[in-house]
């Protein structure tokens, strides 16, 4: 299956609560359904949430729309509130059933982050654009009619953009589309025939916000150069430059009649300006973080504001008929029209820092409110909420002198913990540990592989045909634990596009099973379904008598090292085992201690009175080793090098 050139597939999952009722990161976009009184918000946590907008202080949360695996950058509500289109940094555009909140289809045409959308209401046409420089035009009615079997859609693309597109706007009749990019120019097309109309120069930096008037004759652009420009598209020129912001302008909202522009950006201010008289402007409010999106309330008397923080607030707008800054400023106290928002939808906290503990299983995190939380990666769950404690102190407290190889990476881009498992079997399946020490079983001497256990748990609901052992019994999951069934499981190209996302508990479905067959890499199937034992990590080392040779330098001076000195063992074996080997194979011969000149047999099995580790001491760098310490830990913490790992043994004086 698949082409020969197929990229490596990465397995990832998110550690989170079943229901995440609050945005965990910035909110990139807002859309209002005035009929239903619902507000849709696109989160950088990858989740689109739906809120009640009505008066009152009841819980506004309605539901989450989850399917994106990265920042949702833009959304448009279309078909009178029946459908929602979303654009994400996971490079997909998704079509949603808005009232029910499920994903109807995924468009994978873009090759890089999809950054912006534009909507022509009268034609039910949507355009998407992003960092791959391409603009695609979509007919919404076609998109919503897509099914699993009828899954092809034709799209027209607008070409000519030379750089990454950060903003896009269409007028409602769909006669004009404008794009803004790092090229610093506005490019204008006629979407009806995809013909290029013009290129407007004037901005000195990226253009991140655009609005077009209904008739398509005017356009307003907001740029990272800090200016807002009013353009006449009919005259192909900049009419005026509005300098009300002190930093980059990231969000624009125009009144229906194009008389006023509301703007926000990096300086955290929301400002309403009269377009024809830019000296008439009022600072509506000051937010706590840079402003990402503005959206009118149903009565157009207020504005919903989203920022790079997770809160969403609604602010009252001043009457537009008499915009005079003097009138509204509350003298010295504040230079803003409003200091208190009308409504406030509180957001959650984003995880900003993490530390993987030495056991390569637990992670300590700290969020935007300095809350410290302990997570268990192996079981994909939260262990303990430690509250606002000293993060560094907690890390120190949990230090253990143990070394386990890395087998996963942590990603905080969504503000939640996303775990990327190692990209191939050698990376992902490198962590062998004692099951007893991991607290999975009380039996001695059982070794488990973290990566394998987790893959087995993540895919335990998948009805794979090979899930049968020699005895004809179904083998499901691992024998130790399960992961929460709501855990999102994500397959993606390494460092790139998402291939498939599902929840762990849904893998049992037929469609899901088929998609998994296409997506899951064979080495994962081997481990998680066929229960193949992962390879053991071998660690070579030299074992030398301590008395004859005291240090590294001495060892190097020796002209030849006999082949017996060179050993290979599993990286997790404990020093005790090495001591046993010494007693059995070397000292046990009786050439060292005349007293114990007995055969090999009695040195191993019936040594009830003196254990091997008591008869022989192991040393590394002249440090006596704890018999419970494993070889990789000795190499990591004591030898501190990956080459010429050398241990010495010494017969204890007794």
């Amino acid at each position: 299956m698949g082409s020969m050139m197929r990229k490596k597939t990465q397995v990832s999952f998110v550690i989170r609560d079943e229901e995440e009722r609050r945005h965990k990161n910035g909110v990139s976009s807002l859309q209002l359904d005035p009929v239903q009184g619902r507000l849709y918000s696109a989160g950088r946590d990858g989740i689109i949430r739906v809120w009640h907008t009505g008066a009152g202080t009841q819980d506004r949360y309605i539901q989450s729309m989850e399917h994106h695996t990265d920042w949702v950058n833009d959304i448009v509500l279309c078909c009178g509130g029946k459908n929602l289109i979303s654009a994400s940094s996971d490079t997909t555009v998704k079509v949603w059933n808005a009232p029910k909140g499920f994903c109807m289809s995924t468009l994978r045409t873009h090759k890089d982050y999809v950054r912006t959308l534009a909507y022509a209401k009268d034609k039910e046409q949507v355009a998407s654009a992003g960092l791959d420089r391409a603009i695609f035009l979509w007919d919404v009615n076609t998109l919503t009619a897509l099914t699993a079997s009828n899954n092809t859609v034709t799209t027209s693309s607008l070409v000519g953009n030379k750089e990454s597109i950060y903003s896009l706007a269409m007028n409602p009749p769909g006669t004009i589309i404008v794009s803004g990019s790092t090229e610093k120019v506005l490019r204008v097309w006629d979407p009806r025939n995809c013909s290029r109309l013009m290129k407007l120069r004037g901005h000195a930096d990226n253009v991140k916000a655009l609005v077009v008037s209904r008739d398509g004759s005017q356009c307003v652009s907001g740029s990272s150069d800090g200016t807002i420009k009013l353009w006449s598209l009919s005259q192909q020129r900049c009419v005026s430059t509005i300098r009300v912001h002190s930093e980059a302008v990231w969000a624009l909202l125009a009144t229906e009649n194009f008389s006023h522009i509301i703007s926000g950006g990096r300086d955290r201010l929301v400002i309403v300006t009269e377009l024809r008289n830019p000296e008439n402007f009022v600072i509506v409010c000051e937010e706590t973080a840079p402003i990402l999106k503005l959206c009118f309330t149903a009565d157009q008397q207020g504005v919903w504001v989203s920022t790079s923080d997770s809160d969403i607030q609604c602010w009252k707008l001043p009457p537009l008929t008499n915009l005079n800054s003097e009138t509204y400023y509350n003298s010295d106290v504040s230079k803003t029209y409003q200091t208190q928002s009308l409504y406030h939808i509180p957001g959650g906290r984003a995880i900003k820092h993490y530390t993987v503990l030495n056991d390569k299983r637990h992670i300590l995190t700290k969020d935007t409110a300095n809350n410290v939380v302990l997570y268990d990666v192996l079981k994909a769950c939260k262990v303990e909420d430690l509250g606002e404690v000293d993060y560094d102190e907690e890390i120190k407290k949990r230090f253990k002198m143990v070394y386990v190889p890395n087998w996963f990476n942590v990603d905080l881009k969504t503000g939640m913990l996303t775990i990327h498992l190692g990209q191939d079997e050698t990376d992902c399946l490198s962590a062998w540990v004692s099951a007893k020490e991991a607290g999975l079983t009380s039996e001695n001497d059982q070794k488990v592989n973290f990566g394998a256990l987790l893959l087995q748990a993540l895919l335990e609901h998948w009805n794979h045909p090979n899930r049968v052992n020699e005895a004809g019994q179904k083998v499901i999951g691992n024998n130790y634990f399960n992961v929460p069934i709501h855990t999102p499981l994500i397959f993606s190209e390494v460092g790139g596009r998402t291939l498939y996302r599902l929840q762990v508990g849904d893998a049992g479905g037929e469609t899901e099973g088929n998609l998994l067959m296409e997506t899951v890499p064979s080495w994962v199937v081997d481990v998680a379904i066929e229960m193949a034992a992962p390879k053991l990590n071998k660690l070579p080392f030299y074992l030398l008598s301590h008395s004859s040779c005291q240090s590294k330098q001495d060892r190097q001076k020796k002209v030849s090292v006999t082949f017996q000195d060179r050993l290979v063992a599993n990286d997790f074996i404990q020093c005790r085992k090495v001591a046993e080997h010494v007693v059995e194979k070397i000292v046990g011969g009786g050439d060292v201690n005349g007293a114990s000149a007995s055969g090999k047999s009695n040195a191993t099995e019936d040594s009830g009175n003196d254990a091997p580790e008591e008869r022989v001491e192991l040393l590394c760098c002249d440090q006596v080793l704890d018999p419970n310490m494993d070889l990789r830990t000795v190499r990591h913490f004591i030898w501190k090098s990956n080459v010429e790992f050398t241990l010495h043994y010494r017969v204890s004086k007794q």
Partner: protein, 620 residues
Amino acid sequence: MPFNSVAETTQGVRKPKFSLSLNRNNAKVLSDENRDTENKDSKESNNNKENRPANKRPPSNTYSNTLNAAKKLKPLTKPLQAVETQQGLELVVVEGPSASPAMLNGHHQSDSQSVGGQYAGSAQWKTPIATLSNLGNTCYLNSVLYTLRYAPRFLHNLHHLVSDLASVEQKLGSIRLKSSSLGRSAAGLATSGTRSWSSKDLLSLGQSDSNAGKSKIQIATEKLHETYFNLRAAESKCINSSSSDANPEPYPPDAFLAALREVNSTFDGNRQQDAHELLVCLLDNIRETCRALSARASRLQLQENGDSNGLGRQTTIDGEGGKQTLGNLRKSWKKRKEAKEARATDKRSSPTEERPSEHEHDERARPGWDFVADDFEGTMVVRTMCLECETVTEKAQAVWELCVPVGEEDTGEEPFRAACLSSEYLRDQNKYWCERCLRYNEARRSVAYSRLPRLLVLQLKRFSGGMEKITRHAPTPLLMPCFCEPCAARAADHPPAHRYILWAVIMHLGQTLTGGHYVAYARDSGGEAGEPRCARGEAAAPPGSFMRTLFNRPRAPPAGCAARDCCVPRARPAACWLACDDDLVKPISNEDFEDLLSAEPKMRSAATPYLLFYVKSEVG
């Protein structure tokens, strides 16, 4: 002082012989744009009969003074005499130039006015120019030595470094051995009122104080100075010899090369070397010497345990400087400097300004002042802006030269500006990991220079990955506008505050990178590249201060410093370009030089500019 060590080498023997005529010339004002004109001629007219007649200024009596002085000195050359005698006589000699301060002033005026003086004609070609012989694949060395010889103010600074070094060392020595003859001579020096250090002292000091105690780095710096001293001496010898058109014997820079090899084994063997690598190594070496001197000077001060007006602040610097990197060290100086200036005046401080502030004089007069950093070090600022959160992260780093790729397209008027001030987007597969967004985003990365050095070195990247050399023509402007941040930020209709004037080019001949030949073209500005008003002379040290007792600075305005009588090239009657090809150095006309740099030179050659040297000049 055990003088016998001087005689160990042939150069050692020659040195004292030539040194008697050291004091004929006057230092000239170093204006960055100066080309010496008529005034200079008048001074030189006595030695060169073909020169134009003297101008309105009556010829000064300098020459006769010097002659007299030379006569007085004459007996000295025969035997190598005791140090005391030598120094005693030397003191008299230095009086010569200092007797005519008017001349100095005159030069100052004329120099600042005579911008763009023209090539004076063939007559001056008779002025002898010392040359360096090739020791076997050492054209890389010679080209760099020639270039630095004509580097504005470089030899002057080197001279003071070496003289301060010798002085501090001697002082330290005298503290250690109070009863020795060394101690006596040091005491003698300290009491002499108006003398400056002459090369003779330096060389003798350098060699007498057994080299065992010196670092290899210091020896290399001293040998570098010695090389320039010997070149100067060779020129002087020719002037003094009866035949006016005698050419100096090529001088073998083997002593310096040997010292250099001690420092850096890269230059071992007779292989071909990269001239740029040598330049970097050489400048590094001088910096290290500066640091060592700075450390020693403060140690000396501690030992003297006395007044600390002069060097009090340095103690702390060196205290923390032990393990610091060079950059940090400089920063700490700078900080101090800036802090000081913020208190005193609101004036912008730039060591490149024509008239440095008082504090800079102070700083420059300090033993161990890192003039290499001041002259050659620029500050590159790399800014990266995440295109999502638009947070800018900034990293500044010191740069010693700007590398300019020899690109495909011509960039017109300012060929290096575009190459040096770059701005690029990090995108597609090369996105930027933003610390704030905690993810990969697009970003814009730009490179700018918050400061460009007084002496700007441009290296043309003529490598294309393999061993092939890009022989494509790259325009080499004689004059270019500055593109440091303050200059670049100016509106288009405002001219930049500085510009850069080409003063040397090192050309590479050959079709491959593995071999070839280096030739240096350097502009001899027509006079000695001394400092117009030597900071050393003007350092207004309070009476009895450490600085004065240590370096014995004359209190009265001096007649320039001793550097111009020691190691800087002899003055030429007029500015001109010199083609320096190992033991063949000849003046060439501006036209010929420009032709050489043009895209289609009439004199077709395989030479391509490799290193370009510009000197900063204030506009207006």
